[in-house]
Amino acid sequence: MKKNLVLIAAMMVATAAFAVEIGQPAPDFTGTDINGKTIKLSDYKGKIVVIESYNSDCPFCHNHYASGAMQDLQKNLAAKDVVWLLVDSVNTKNFSYRTPAQAQKEWADLKIAATAWIDDHSGDIGHLYGMKTTPHCFVIAADGTLVYDGAIDNRPSPFGDPRTAKNYVRAAVDELLAGKPVTVTQTKPYGCGVHYAN
C-alpha cells in the first residue's frame, strides 16, 4: 500500500511537473528575443505580463493577426503598461521556424505590437509552462502569480473575426487592473500543437 501511494505521488509529480499552477508564482525564465536582447520574466515584476505561445503559420494564430484583433489587444494593453511576450517554441527544423531576420520581417509585416518575441526553439520555456497549442496564453499578475492559463478566447476557429469572442486574456487583465479577482482562471487551450524539438 505504501508503495502504491508513493507511485501515485510520483505520477502526480510527473503529470504536474511541466505545468504551472494558478495562484502560484509563475516560474521565472530567461530567453533571447529576435533582436538578440535578453528577456527575463522577473525583470517585469510589478507589471502585468501576458505570455502568448506564438506561431503565425498556425491558422488559429494567423487569424488573430490577419484580422488585426491580436495587435489591437496588444496595443490596448500596452497603453495600460501591460507586458506582452510572444514565445515561439517551434524547433529549428520545422517549416514554421523563423530565423531572427525572418522574424524581424514578420514582426514588421504583421505590425505586431507586443513587448518582445522570444526565440524559444529549444522549447525550454514552452515546456516550463506546459504550452500545448498556439495560441496558448498565460496572464501573470503584477506580484508574479499566475492568474490565467488557457485559450485566448472562447472561439476556436481559424476563420472570422475574433473580436466577436469573449477574450479571456483581456478579461483577466481588466479584472486585475480593477483590483478584482480573476473570474475565469483556466480554460482548455485550442489551436495547433506546438512544434517542439524532439
Binding site: M1, M11, K188
Partner: protein
C-alpha cells in the same frame, strides 16, 4: 481551397464529386443509388489524407479541430449526427491528439420523409476540416452526390465500404461492464480517475492495449496519458488524470474505451467517489456491492479455471490414471462408480483445503503467498519426484498398491485396486500436479483470492477443486456415458504400462526443476531414484508376488531405502540445504539467444531512465505455461530479432526460489503466480503493458512494436 474548385464543381455537378484541397481529398458517398420515401440511408464523407497528414476526431485532443459537416439538403431530408469511426491517438506525447491518418469515412444517416415526392435529389455538404502535418491548414470543401427516389431501395457500390467504416464506429459495450471512480481527491485541479471494464461474455480475447478517448468538455480535460493498472483476460483498469478548468468536478464521464483496437462507447458513466482508504488495487473492492459482484464472477472463473486445469500439461499425466480408472469401473455397479467419483472429488477438495490452509498460514506469517509456491521448495520437489517415480513403476507393474499387501494379477480384479484409496490418491495427485500450472480464468480468480480474507480464499480454492473434479463427478453420475469405452480385458495391462511413460516424463520435468536447486549434485537424486526403483521391484517381485522368504525381501527393501536416503539424499545431495543461485551477469541460454539480465526493480528503473524498452519475463522452472510461452513466443527468431532491432532490455525474474520481491511485483499486477510478462514502453512515464498468460508470437511482437512508439 483552390481557386479552381468551384469550376470543378460546375463540371461534375451531378456526379459524386471528388473535391481536392491541399492535402486531403473529400468525397460524398451514399449507401444507396435509389431510396424510397421513408428510408434512412447512410451518407459518408470520405476524407483521403496524403501520407503524414491527419484530420481530427470529434475531440481533437490537446490541439487541432474536429471536422465539421454542414448539409444543404432538399426539404424533407434530415441529417443525423456524425458517427465517428474510432480515431488513433497521435503523438507527440506533449501535444497528443485524436485523429485519422490516410483515410476516414465520417458517417451520417440521412432520413427521407415518408411523404417525399420527386424522382431524384441532390445532396450537398460543406466539409470543413483542419489538416496537419508539420503545419496545420484549414480546408473547406463542398461535396455533392445524387440519389434517385423510387419504389425500391437499391444499394450502391459504396454500401460495403460504408458498412466497413460503420463497424469502426464505437458502440455501447455489450460484452463489458464499465465503472468509473475517482481514485482520490487529487490536487486543486488535477484528479486521478480510474476506469474499469470487466468482460461479461467472451473470455479469450486478450484485453490488450486498453485506452480511453474522452469526449471533449469545456470545464475539464481528461489528459491523454493512460496508465494501465490491469489488463488481463477478464478486466482492464486504467488510470487517467482529469484536469479541471472551471466549475465542479464532473460527476459523469463520456468517451470511448479502446480495447484491442476496438472502441466501446461509454455515455455519461457516473463517476464514483474515491474509496476511503485510497487503495489503488482494491479501490473498488472496498465497496461491499462490488465485492459480492466480483466474488460471484471470481467463483465462476475459479470453477472454469479448475475445469481447464484438467487439460493443462501439468495435470495431463493424471488423466491417464483417470482413463484407466474409468475403463475398469465402467462395468461396475453405478452406485460403486458414483461412490468412487465422489471419493476422487473428495481427494481433490481436501487437497485444495490443505493448499488454502497453507496459503492462509503463509499470509498470516507476513509472507507473500503464491500459487505453486511449494514448487520453490527443493524438499517438496524431491518428495514429489520420488512419489511420481513410484506411480510410474506402479503403472509398469513393478509393484502393486493394495491394502492387503498381496498382488492381484488378473485384469478383472484391476477394478478393486482402484478402490477408494486409489481414487482418493488420484485426487490428491491431480491437485498436487495442477499447482504449477495456471490456466486462463484461473489467474484472475487466484489473483483475487490471494488478496482476500481467509474465508474467501477457502471458498475460491474449493471452487477450483470442484471445477477440476467436475468432469469425473459428472461421468460417474452417468456411467452410461462410458459405454463407448472398450471392454476391460488383457489390453488394460498394456495400456496401464503405456500410461507409465507420461509419468516418467513428469519425473524428468521434476528432476530438471530439482537441478536448478542442487546444480550438479542432482545426480544423487537420480541415484536415489534408482535405489527406490530397485527397492520397489524387490518389494513387488519378492514380497508381494513371492512365495518364500517374504520377510527377508521386506527387510532388504527397508535397508535399501534407509541406506539410499542416508547416503544419496542426506550425505551426498545434502538435500535440505539449497545452494545459493548465482544472480548476476547474462542468463543467455544459447549463443544467439536473448541476452537476459537478472530482474530487479532497480534494473527496470535504470533501463527506463536510459530510454530503453524493457521486457520482463516473470517465470519459474516448474511453471510449464512459462516454459511453453518461452519456447513458442519469446525465445524465437522473430522475437530475438525484434529485441535486437529495438535495443530492448530483457530481464528475467526467476520465481523458482520465490524471492519475496517477485511475489510483491506479481501481486501488484493482481497475479498470484507466474507467468507474468511485462513490456515497458520507451516513454519512461508510460505504464507497462501486461501480456496475457498464454502468449503467441504475434502478441509479443505487437507489444514490442507498440512499446517503441
Amino acid at each position: 481551397m483552390r481557386p479552381c474548385a468551384p469550376i470543378l464543381f460546375l463540371l461534375l455537378a451531378l456526379a459524386a464529386t471528388p473535391a481536392r484541397a491541399a492535402h486531403t481529398e473529400a468525397q460524398l458517398i451514399l449507401s444507396a443509388d435509389t431510396a424510397r420515401p421513408g428510408d434512412t440511408i447512410l451518407a459518408g464523407v470520405d476524407l483521403k489524407m496524403e501520407p503524414g497528414w491527419h484530420t481530427y476526431w470529434k475531440n481533437p485532443g490537446d490541439s487541432g479541430q474536429a471536422t465539421e459537416i454542414k448539409w444543404t439538403l432538399p426539404p424533407g431530408v434530415t441529417a443525423g449526427e456524425i458517427q465517428w469511426p474510432l480515431p488513433k491517438k497521435l503523438p507527440p506525447a506533449e501535444v497528443t491528439t485524436y485523429g485519422y491518418e490516410d483515410e476516414v469515412v465520417l458517417l451520417v444517416p440521412l432520413t427521407i420523409a415518408p411523404n417525399f415526392s420527386g424522382k431524384e435529389m441532390d445532396l450537398q455538404a460543406n466539409v470543413a476540416w483542419l489538416e496537419c502535418k508539420d503545419v496545420c491548414i484549414p480546408a473547406n470543401q463542398t461535396v455533392t452526390a445524387q440519389i434517385n427516389i423510387g419504389a425500391e431501395t437499391k444499394t450502391s457500390g459504396n454500401a460495403a465500404l460504408l458498412e466497413s467504416w460503420k463497424k469502426k464506429v464505437p458502440q455501447a459495450a455489450a460484452i463489458f461492464s464499465f465503472q468509473a471512480n475517482w481514485e482520490n481527491a487529487g490536487t486543486n485541479d488535477l484528479r486521478p480517475l480510474i476506469i474499469q471494464g470487466q468482460q461479461i461474455v467472451s473470455y479469450f480475447i486478450p484485453l490488450i492495449a486498453p485506452d480511453f478517448f474522452p469526449e471533449a468538455s469545456d470545464n475539464f480535460e481528461v489528459q491523454p496519458a493512460t496508465e494501465t493498472i490491469t489488463a488481463d483476460h477478464s478486466e482492464i483498469r486504467l488510470r487517467k488524470f482529469v484536469k479541471k478548468f472551471s466549475g465542479d468536478w464532473p460527476r459523469q464521464i463520456s468517451g470511448v474505451v479502446v480495447i484491442a483496437g476496438v472502441g466501446y462507447e461509454i455515455n455519461r458513466l457516473p463517476i464514483g467517489d474515491p474509496a476511503p482508504a485510497g487503495g489503488m488495487i482494491s479501490s473498488t473492492a472496498n465497496q461491499p456491492q462490488t465485492v459480492s459482484q466480483s466474488l460471484w464472477r471470481m467463483l465462476i472463473f475459479a470453477f472454469i479455471g479448475g475445469l481447464i486445469l484438467n487439460i493443462m500439461p501439468c495435470v495431463l499425466p493424471v488423466i491417464a490414471l483417470k482413463i484407466l480408472g474409468f475403463v475398469s469401473e465402467a462395468r461396475s455397479k453405478p452406485r460403486r462408480v458414483r461412490q468412487l467419483g465422489l471419493i476422487y472429488a473428495l481427494g481433490v477438495l481436501i487437497s485444495f483445503l490443505v493448499l488454502a490452509a497453507i496459503v492462509i498460514g503463509v499470509k498470516s506469517a507476513g509472507h507473500h503467498a503464491g500459487w505453486g509456491m511449494q514448487f520453490g521448495s527443493p524438499i517438496f520437489i524431491v518428495c514429489l519426484t520420488t512419489l511420481v517415480t513410484l506411480v510410474a513403476l506402479n503403472l509398469f507393474g513393478v509393484f502393486e498398491v493394495t491394502l492387503a499387501g498381496r498382488a492381484l494379477d488378473t485384469a478383472g480384479e484391476l477394478a478393486s485396486k482402484h478402490g477408494a484409496a486409489g481414487a482418493f490418491f488420484n485426487g490428491v495427485l491431480a491437485t498436487t500436479l495442477a499447482t504449477p500450472c495456471t490456466a486462463p480464468f484461473l489467474a484472475p480468480a487466484l489473483g483475487f483470492a490471494f488478496a482476500q480474507s481467509s474465508s474467501v480464499i477457502i471458498l475460491i480454492f474449493l471452487t477450483v477443486g470442484l471445477g477440476l473434479a467436475s468432469p469425473y463427478i459428472l461421468l460417474s453420475w452417468n456411467p452410461a456415458w462410458l459405454k463407448f469405452l472398450p471392454k476391460p480385458g488383457a489390453w488394460m495391462e498394456k495400456f496401464k504400462i503405456a500410461m507409465g511413460f507420461p509419468m516418467l516424463a513428469t519425473v524428468i520435468w521434476l528432476y530438471a526443476v530439482a537441478a536448478s536447486s542442487y546444480g550438479k549434485n542432482v545426480l544423487w537424486l537420480g541415484i536415489f531414484l534408482v535405489i527406490v526403483a530397485l527397492a520397489a521391484w524387490i518389494f513387488g517381485e519378492f514380497f508381494q508376488r513371492g512365495r518364500t522368504r517374504r520377510g527377508t525381501a521386506f527387510v532388504l527393501v527397508c535397508i535399501l531405502l534407509a541406506a539410499g536416503y542416508a547416503f544419496a539424499l542426506e550425505k551426498e545431495l545434502n538435500w535440505r540445504t539449497v545452494m545459493p543461485v548465482a544472480n548476476a551477469g547474462s542468463l543467455k541460454e544459447s549463443a544467439d539467444g536473448i541476452d537476459w539480465q537478472p530482474w530487479s526493480p532497480e534494473a527496470v528503473a535504470q533501463a527506463r531512465a536510459a530510454g530503453k524498452i524493457v521486457l520482463v519475463d516473470f517465470t519459474a522452472d516448474w511453471c510449464l505455461t512459462c516454459q511453453v510461452n518461452k519456447k513458442t513466443s519469446i525465445e524465437i527468431s522473430s522475437v530475438r530479432k525484434k529485441i535486437k532491432d529495438l535495443n530492448v532490455v530483457a530481464l528475467l525474474a526467476d520465481d523458482t526460489h520465490t524471492p519475496e520481491n517477485i511475489a510483491v511485483e506479481l501481486n501488484r499486477y493482481n497475479r498470484a503466480g507466474v507467468p507474468l510478462v511485462l513490456v515497458y514502453p520507451k516513454k519512461a512515464d508510460a505504464p507497462p503493458m501486461v501480456l496475457p498468460e498464454v502468449l503467441t508470437p504475434g502478441i509479443v511482437l505487437d507489444a514490442l512494436d507498440r512499446a517503441a512508439k
